[in-house]
């Protein structure tokens, strides 16, 4: 770790404050809570470790942990900055939280930062999932394992359905958006059409409809 950038270093150097007991003195001195204040310095090592921890904790979804790490624990981003970056990652194709690691890494260290954050986020999950796959290859034939996985699969499908239904709520009062949603579901899930041509046809129509929507 670089001598100047460690998260603890500034605390050691902290000048005596005009003290009125704030709850986070060290952070306010180094400007980590300010929106437009001095640029926050993050080393490559810190980037790797931060995303490593977020990835390692993210059972059932990394997003909450990435946000917690970035905004609440390490304060590399403000809540507003996070929301802004996430809306970009959500809009771009690809795994959202992986995209987020790229954007955050690039913000601090360009291409090297992006690759470091990405590697940090994926190291442990990749190792774990391959270990699970190896265990399954070894023990999957044991009676009961398939049955348990099938049971969980039925519930997991329900969980994803429920997530989708919750996300669909805002579209209930927008007939055109709802129609796009239902057509997408029908041609992909029921008719099993290939995704790429479906997207090439539907996306421009849907974006045009949004363009001409009365505000």
């Amino acid at each position: 770790m670089g001598p100047r950038n460690g998260p603890q270093a500034p605390q050691a150097l902290a000048v005596p404050r005009r003290s009125r007991g704030t709850s986070r003195p060290a952070q306010s001195i180094i400007g980590r809570v300010s929106t437009s204040g001095p640029p926050i310095r993050v080393t490559l090592g810190e980037l790797y470790r931060g995303f490593f921890h977020a990835g390692a904790r993210g059972v059932g979804g990394v997003l909450p942990w990435v946000r917690r790490m970035l905004v609440e624990e390490r304060r590399w981003l403000t809540a507003a900055e996070f929301t802004d970056l996430f809306s970009l990652c959500n809009f771009l194709p690809g795994p959202n939280t992986v995209n987020l690691s790229i954007v955050v890494g690039a913000r601090f260290h360009g291409v090297r930062g992006a690759l470091t954050a990405l590697a940090g986020m994926l190291t442990l999950p990749l190792a774990v999932v391959l270990l699970l796959a190896a265990l399954y290859a070894r023990f999957g034939a044991l009676p009961g394992i398939d049955a348990v996985l099938r049971g969980i699969g039925a519930a997991a499908g329900g969980l994803v359905l429920a997530t989708g239904v919750k996300m669909a709520a805002p579209f209930l009062r927008r007939p055109r958006a709802l129609a796009v949603l239902l057509v997408t579901f029908a041609v992909i899930a029921l008719l099993r059409w290939p995704l790429v041509p479906v997207l090439l046809a539907l996306a421009p129509l849907s974006v045009l409809a949004a363009w001409f929507r009365r505000p």
Binding site: G55, G58, V59, V62, S87, L88, L92, P93, G94, P95, T97, V98, V103, A106, V111, A114, M121, L122, L126, V129, L130, L132, A133, G144, V148, L149, R150, G151, G153, A154, A155, A156, G157, G158, L159, V160, L161, A162, G164, V165, M167, A168, F171, A177, L178, L181, L182, T184, F185, I188, A189, R192, P194, L195, A203, S206, V207, L208, A210, W211
Partner: protein, 174 residues
């Protein structure tokens, strides 16, 4: 064509069309893996989905597992890289200019237009995962419906229905 090359090309394309994240392209992954290439059965696909969800980390790990299933460790690495590299490259470059278009009308229209498609794809994913677990008839459908209802209408931790469903499976009910 060698399976490794097929995996690389197929997943690289999916990486660039995965609007709304990987969950949105799972129906297409299923179509490629089960219907087109016959790399796995319906039931195996749902099993891989469950195993991938049991690991921590981003939900793209299903792709890693499929690569592993088809071509071992090289398959896992190729599949992961193919799913990550194209979208990450795009993200890197777009993130440098995005702020400039913050309030642009076309950006708002793009976001609003793509959102319902992404949600339709998420619901399609739930449908396909659930269908892969339905060998045993109405009980499995009931488990799917009950879980969905619990998650939509109550604030219960989703882990509980998952554990209960695993137990039902073990008891040979599902």
């Amino acid at each position: 064509m060698s399976p490794l090359v097929s995996i690389a090309i197929r997943f690289a394309v999916l990486s660039l069309v995965a609007v709304g994240g990987v969950t949105a392209v799972i129906p297409e992954v299923h179509r490629i893996v089960v219907d087109v290439h016959h790399w796995a059965s319906d039931a195996e696909f749902t099993q891989m989905f469950v195993i991938a969800r049991a690991a921590p980390g981003p939900n793209m790990l299903l792709v890693t597992l499929i690569g592993w299933h088809v071509a071992g460790l090289p398959g896992a690495l190729v599949a992961t890289a193919a799913m990550v590299a194209p979208s990450c490259t795009l993200t890197y470059f777009v993130s440098r200019v995005w702020q400039r278009f913050r309030a642009a009308r076309w950006r708002v229209a793009l976001e609003a237009g793509l959102a319902p498609i992404a949600v339709g794809l998420v619901i399609a994913t739930g449908w396909i995962v659930a269908r892969g677990a339905q060998d045993t008839g109405w009980v499995a459908y009931a488990v799917t419906a009950a879980t969905a209802a619990l998650v939509v209408f109550t604030r219960v931790n989703p882990l509980w229905p998952l554990i209960a469903a695993g137990a039902l499976g073990l008891l040979k009910v599902v």
